[in-house]
Symmetry: C2
Subunit: 525 residues, 2 copies
């Protein structure tokens, strides 16, 4: 398995007019080979191929599409240790983390294979004809979901496997029947190419149409903009910064035909600590908080960036334990120089804020792009007054907000922006305070956790990795878990078509064995 | 039941600073009483009340919400003939049509009551804990759908009951658990107020929270803009013109928190006539085409505004019969002076187009705002060259495009904008030509009909009244039929909450009896 630096447009390897290098964040040095920048012509050709592939790929039977997803998983596994080693060098992430992430990526592809086979995503709904109905007969009406069209995927730097080239966006778009064009993340171009070649091989092995997948590496905003603006692209999946996500949303909304953008952007993942829990196990919770905060240098979308709690000595114990743990938590390698500087700017802004106390810092690191963790404190009035205190600082930085009473906690929650997660730390004696907060938090977040930490997003059927703006650009969806497939589908109704002209999913004999709603009654195959 | 012209903000009747009148389109004269223009203060107060009502209303049990919908239906029926008579005067629509529309409106409310009770819309999904899983235990994860928040509804002029104050948008938003604020359509303010009072009475009878419904009549764009811009409004339903819909989309996207707009806008509903059908029954089809086109003065979103067919003598027979029928089809009353003038401008532009032949006109009408039907013809090259020929002319105007061969038909279809419907008129001998067009049309339209006419939209489970842009602003949905409820929902996941703190829908004992997906397996209650 070779990394050539090529642009992968359908089955062709291409060179670009300009080049760029992968950077080892631990040394700041370039890693070979030279990578080619994809340009406007590559976008246009990839989009044309994807558009051509759509007719065939979108109507592949569930079994064929599931096999394709499983073959991608197989091909990724077959890359072997070369993938882990390359990802370690490009991301600075440790081996165990990347091996886990590879397992998650493979598991995710297999989950979507099972989802595709089960057929619930088709939402097959049949209202049979009622020829004798008065005053007017009812026609035969049958509805299924169809794929939206080619999808552009923008991976994230912080999960070079699970949220990148063959990550959740790609897996769910393929599952829905959409060809995929990945804009490769410049922070891990070699890793990206290895995975892209695995997908291409899987497409070839499965006889998928040319153009079902293309991979466009590059560093420029123009590349992404051209991809989202291409009229043949019909939806966008993105994980990254608020600024980046909003830029894509704007481009998509200004097209002659606007398209949906699923951007997962910004979240500080509030944690509410309740008094009985703080009293019973404040110190232990404080240690666990610091551990969750510093895990992976805090580079998770669901990092706990905010704790809200009642002021008092129990909270002091929590904060004290967190500060002690964080103070001994070694500095960690960050993903890229840009992320490291943004983290530094975010921390410095909080340190310089008169209304904010710097509670603890982790040890400074040696070497390039090391994250020095930071814990801050403030009170409810200051937090409510200054919206900047609620901005995400991507990395191991968090702020503890002291509230005077439960009403102030509810007010703080009511003033929050949309979030991916909200966490409740409580004991039985807290439940009277907890219960009324749950519906408030449901208006703010996509996932509500009890007595855990938000880092760690299970890939399963019930997961929601989404939430109200600005956590995402579309609160009606998730980017992790089985439900993610629904982002790339739309319903089509067929009226009075003879059975043999209907798409297979809607034929009377139910060849895919999908669940169906018939005359309003859900029936299993 | 009295029409007072008031603004209905929650349970209060209000007066406005300015007034407007209802107009009888048949005479151009005002009909009393004076109506009050809702303003910015009414919007703010209605939104504050709706926001306050949300917590309670969104968590009402399905049975309570279903009863509310059924009580609205009952209260609308109880208005009796006064509703029909008022609607006849304000819309110019005939009695039979409005009685049918009332039946449809009531049936639609009852359909959503049954949908709410069944519980599939909750999409309850449970991945039980796996405490012994290695390397990490799996938490208990449970997902359900929750209401988005208060919804703003903009009704249409052409269905003063079924797409207006208590139409599909309102019914589906209530069904989802969203309070509703209706911006009353100025073309039927008396009808609107009667229905608004029926909803208010139903809310009172059912003990629904103050502010679950408000009704803001008015004529200004500012009123609608203020409603969509209000931060407490979380989604918008709209049926109307492309310009109006896009204006609301723009306002919604420029908010600090962008929100979804479901705008059903513009469609010319292509009909493809195939050769064997044209040969066997061209004249009969032509008569039926003219009948569908002129029904209700052509004022349907699904009016057949375009026919595509192979050129030749069989098509001549079709067009000849259509022209003869249309030529004898009496002029009909249009809904409003504005719609009548827009229709006139659209017809005049086609008449003045050198590439377009005026095939037939209906008789001119006597009296105000009468629609004189129009049938036009052109060839494929001209249609492809001039995008204006594909613009919707709301009313009884349609154009027949003659294609040289099946490839030209496919090209024409490929060049169409998004549509609500696409219709195939064919016989068995045509099926080889029909089959490859079906997937092409599925990319363009929300509903594909065989051997029928697109006017007449069944309110049922399988219906899709939606389609790619510009038919709607969001192809992933429908504004008619049971699926419309999904527009106003978003998923929330609950992790490791004790059973008694979970929302009822997710508790172990399944109190709502909803279908559930457990560990990926769909199970009926």
């Amino acid at each position: 398995m070779e990394i050539t630096g090529a642009i992968l447009v359908g089955s062709a390897d291409r060179v670009g007019e300009a080049g760029f290098a992968a950077v080892d964040p631990a040394t700041g040095r370039n890693i070979g080979p030279d990578f080619h920048e994809a340009g406007a012509a590559d976008v246009a050709d990839a989009a044309a191929l994807a558009d051509g592939a759509f007719a065939i790929f979108s109507e592949t039977a569930p079994e064929a599409r599931a096999l394709f997803l499983e073959t991608i998983a197989e091909e990724i596994a077959a890359i072997g240790d070369a993938l882990i080693e390359r990802a370690m060098r490009e991301s600075g992430l440790p081996r165990a983390r990347l091996e886990g992430e590879r397992g998650r990526t493979i598991g995710q592809l297999r989950l979507f294979a099972s989802v595709v086979r089960e057929g619930g995503w088709l939402d097959v709904t049949i209202d049979p004809a009622q020829p004798d109905r008065a005053p007017l007969p009812r026609p035969d009406l049958r509805r299924r979901n169809v794929a939206l069209g080619p999808v552009a995927v923008f991976g994230a730097s912080n999960f070079p496997l699970a949220f990148s080239v063959a990550g959740g966006d790609t897996a769910s778009a393929f599952a829905a029947g959409c060809p995929v064009i990945v804009k490769g993340h410049p922070a891990h171009p070699g890793t990206g190419e290895l995975v892209a070649r695995a997908i291409r091989r899987a497409a070839e092995r499965c006889g998928m149409p040319e153009g079902v997948f293309s991979y466009l590496p590059g560093t420029t905003n123009e590349l992404g903009a051209a991809l989202v603006a291409d009229p043949r692209v019909k939806a966008v999946g993105f994980t990254g910064s608020r600024g980046g996500g909003l830029a894509l949303v704007r481009i998509a909304s200004e097209r002659a035909e606007p398209i949906p953008v699923y951007a997962e952007m910004s979240s500080i993942n509030p944690v509410v600590l309740f008094p009985a829990a703080a009293k019973a196990r404040g110190a232990a919770l404080g240690e666990a908080y610091a551990a969750s905060l510093t895990m992976g240098a805090g580079q998770f979308c669901t990092n706990p960036g905010l704790v809200i709690a009642l002021d008092g000595s129990d909270l002091d114990a929590f904060v004290g334990a967190a500060a002690a743990t964080l103070g001994q938590s070694p500095a960690q390698q960050m993903l890229t120089p840009a992320i490291h500087s943004a983290f530094g700017r975010g921390v410095d802004a909080l340190r310089a804020n008169d209304a904010v106390e710097t509670v603890a810092r982790g040890p400074a690191g040696e070497g390039e792009n090391q994250a020095q963790a930071a814990l801050f404190g403030t009170d409810a009035a200051a937090f409510a007054r200054d919206p900047a205190l609620g901005d995400e600082v991507f990395g191991s930085s968090s702020i503890v907000v002291r509230a005077a009473d439960p009403a102030e906690i509810a007010q703080l929650v009511g003033g929050l922006e949309g979030q991916l997660t909200a966490t409740l730390l409580f004991d039985e004696a807290d439940e009277e305070l907890v219960a009324p907060l749950i519906p408030l938090l449901a208006r703010k977040a996509g996932r509500i956790l009890a007595n855990g930490w938000p880092t760690g997003v299970e890939v399963c059927h019930a997961m929601v990795h989404g939430g109200p703006f600005p956590a995402t650009s579309d609160s009606r969806t998730t980017s992790v878990g089985a439900l993610a497939i629904m982002r790339f589908l739309r319903p089509v109704c067929y009226q009075n078509l003879p059975d043999h002209l209907l798409p297979a999913a809607l034929r009377q004999d139910n060849p895919y064995g999908a669940p169906r709603r018939v005359d309003g009654v859900l029936t299993l195959a």
